[in-house]
């Protein structure tokens, strides 16, 4: 079939459907999706709200707030702030809520010890 994504030796015998049904995996999937989906919706809405304002509310965006700095510039810079903020939030969420549980499941399946960065400490090195 030429499937390049064939499982490697360690995972050839794994029953993935069984893993998929375990409570732990369901928790991992739920935690992941309940963070990334709402967050994706929020930042996309916020971005398009900003673009719509820039296109259709020019007078509002041109309102001077401080010196020559207007609402448009502040909202634009806020897009940078929220992008950086969501990035930092996601990283901290993954480190706390996703990585440990993903590492547990992976450990169990592959039967090797992994540290929390996902690097092999002991076990088979390719």
């Amino acid at each position: 079939m030429g499937n390049e994504a064939q499982p490697q030796d360690a995972t050839a015998s794994v029953d993935f459907q069984e893993v998929q049904q375990t409570e732990r995996f369901k928790t991992l999937r739920k935690r992941h999706r309940s963070f990334v989906f709402p967050m994706a919706v929020v930042f996309l809405l916020w971005y398009f709200a900003y673009v719509l304002l820039a296109a259709y509310a020019v007078d509002f965006m041109s309102t001077k707030v401080w010196g020559n700095i207007n609402v448009g510039l502040i909202l634009g810079l806020l897009q940078f702030v929220t992008t950086f903020g969501i990035t930092a939030w996601y990283v901290s969420y993954s480190n706390r809520k996703l990585d440990p549980i993903a590492a547990e499941i992976r450990n169990e399946i592959e039967g090797h010890e992994f540290d929390k960065d996902g690097n092999v400490i002991s076990g088979v090195k390719k």
Binding site: F25, G76, T83, T87
Partner: protein, 538 residues
């Protein structure tokens, strides 16, 4: 430094040609040595396509920034802000926010499931042949449009930075740049390409940082007085407000919505960006890569805001527009104003390095997709060994390189700026729906994938063909003809929802069901990293 420096004398730029060339030659020499050293360990396919998966997150993140911040970003956005003010800035925000799609929805899951190409992920749990062919075709289409835009842009850069304005001289420079790129990719593979991108990203961001600090110093680190001076120089307070470029008519507003949609959804589906995630050892490093990329790219776009308004205030829109290279000359002219020939030489060399690095990244992506997806998995049905596959990839590099050179020579002087936006629109229409569906929608089927990919690809290309960028307007590619049936220059607002719809329709109408075992495997692997490709241990 003071604001009384006389206006930039464009004629004087020609005297600096030798200096520009010297600094660029130095960049080429240094990167060549690094590429040769890096290529010593290129043995396997994973070495050639994915740099042995041995880069760290911070290195890869820097390389992503180097790949993403093309000449169009640097020269184009600075110029757009200098001429059109706020709307240029608006444009750069889409380019940054888009990275959240990559961070939240794509990067880690893709790293965990794939091997070398985008098609690895898309075809994981669907039928291999049809999905791989469709994914490879859209990869090649995106790379081709992006590549052509970069190479065609080289012509105007040459006339500006090297003072070569005759067609033959420009063609010669395009050949030299193309030949250098082929050498980097042929010898260095992904490792060499990555190092070129890292070095270029550092030079570009450092150069922009220095110029930003100099501009801000002139205005006493007061952004408000910089803006005031820019508005005064432009003799138009509206440069600080949105609407100068995109707000002219209702059509142009809608056009900007369409562009914004393509930028935000296209970035995370650009094949050359996706392929970079395979060069790190784990999904966690892939996440770190995106985080680094977001910080570097965000910082850079903040610099371009200052540089754009700085160019408007210190150089002046009229001088910029009348210089060779037009809008693209804003950043180089500002460099000349701030730091004389030396800074101009540095920035010019970085601009050339930018073309080189971006084109190299596109070429290796297209070659990998052809060799790995079409040759190894479709033509030889998985029977080709890795050595043959890499051999095919190397030959493809030469073919693509030659095509890029020819494209660059013949598209030189054509108005092909729309090609970059088209590449984003194709990526967002043909690739993103299938990436999202196959990662998150259990019932998604082969028919849905094929309908969505071909439908998105065809819609984007057809709408562009019948849009004002190709015919019917003064600025069109073919100004004499008029077959512009579609009013917008950006197809995204139609083609992206259409591709999402086709993916859904194809799936619900599909009588065949996909293998639930494969679906379970993909889901578990994507979230946990079980059995993901490991780093090559040398």
């Amino acid at each position: 430094m003071n604001t009384m420096v006389p206006a930039v004398n464009v004629e004087a730029l020609k005297d600096t040609t030798l200096l520009n060339m010297g600094i660029f030659a130095l960049f080429v020499a240094v990167t060549m040595v690094i590429v040769f050293r890096a290529s010593r360990n290129n043995k396997t396919a994973a070495d050639y396509y994915a740099a042995g998966r041995s880069f760290t997150g911070s290195q890869n993140g820097t390389a992503i920034a180097g790949d993403y911040l093309s000449a169009a970003s640097f020269l184009g956005i600075t110029g757009a802000i200098a001429i059109n003010g706020y709307d240029g800035f608006l444009y750069s925000i889409g380019f940054l926010v888009a990275w959240l799609v990559a961070l939240l929805l794509v990067a880690e899951l893709l790293r965990n499931t794939g091997k070398f190409t985008m098609a690895d992920v898309l075809s994981f749990r669907l039928r291999q042949r049809p999905v791989r062919i469709a994914a490879a075709l859209s990869t090649l289409a995106v790379c081709f449009f992006y590549l052509l835009a970069q190479m065609a842009g080289a012509g105007s850069l040459i006339s500006l930075l090297l003072g070569i304005s005759d067609w033959g001289g420009q063609a010669l420079v395009i050949i030299v740049v193309g030949a250098l790129m082929i050498m980097y990719v042929l010898i260095g593979g992904m490792k060499g390409t990555t190092w070129v991108q890292i070095i270029k990203a550092i030079l570009l961001i450092a150069g922009a940082a220095v110029m930003t600090a100099m501009v801000l110093a002139i205005y006493g680190f007061n952004v408000s007085s910089l803006l005031g001076s820019a508005a005064e120089a432009a003799n138009n307070p509206a440069v600080l407000n949105p609407g100068l470029q995109y707000g002219k008519t209702e059509t142009s507003k809608l056009d900007f919505m369409s562009l914004g949609l393509a930028l935000v959804l296209g970035t995370a589906a650009l094949p050359h960006v996706l392929m970079r995630f395979y060069t790190v050892p784990t999904a966690k490093e892939a996440r770190k890569s995106v985080v680094w990329a977001i910080w570097l790219i965000g910082l850079f776009y903040l610099f371009t805001l200052v540089l754009g308004y700085g160019a408007a205030a210190l150089v002046g829109a009229e001088t910029i527009k009348s210089a060779p290279g037009g809008v693209n000359s804003a950043a180089p002219l500002l460099a000349f104003h701030l730091g004389g020939p030396l800074l101009l030489g540095f920035i010019s060399a970085v601009a050339f390095a930018t073309i080189l690095a971006v084109v190299a990244g596109l070429t290796i992506t297209a070659a990998a997709s052809f060799a790995h997806d079409i040759y190894a998995n479709v033509i030889s049905k998985g029977k080709a060994d890795a050595d043959t596959e890499v051999k095919v990839a190397r030959r493809t590099v030469v073919v693509i390189g030659v095509l890029a050179i020819l494209g660059g020579i013949f598209a030189n002087g054509q108005n092909v700026a729309f090609l970059v936006a088209l590449a984003f629109a194709v990526a967002a229409s043909a690739n993103l729906p299938t990436i999202v569906y196959s990662l998150f929608w259990k019932k998604f089927t082969t028919q849905g994938a094929v309908w969505s990919m071909y439908g998105g690809l065809a819609a984007a290309i057809l709408l562009i063909t019948f849009s004002p960028v190709v015919s019917g307007a003064k600025t069109s590619m073919i100004p004499g003809a008029n077959f512009a049936l579609f009013p917008l220059s950006n197809p995204g607002i139609v083609s992206i929802p259409l591709a999402f719809f086709l993916g859904w329709l194809g799936t619900v109408l599909d009588k065949r069901r996909e293998d639930p075992v494969k679906q379970a495997e993909m889901e578990v692997r994507s979230l946990t990293g079980v059995g993901a490709e490991k780093a090559v241990d040398h």
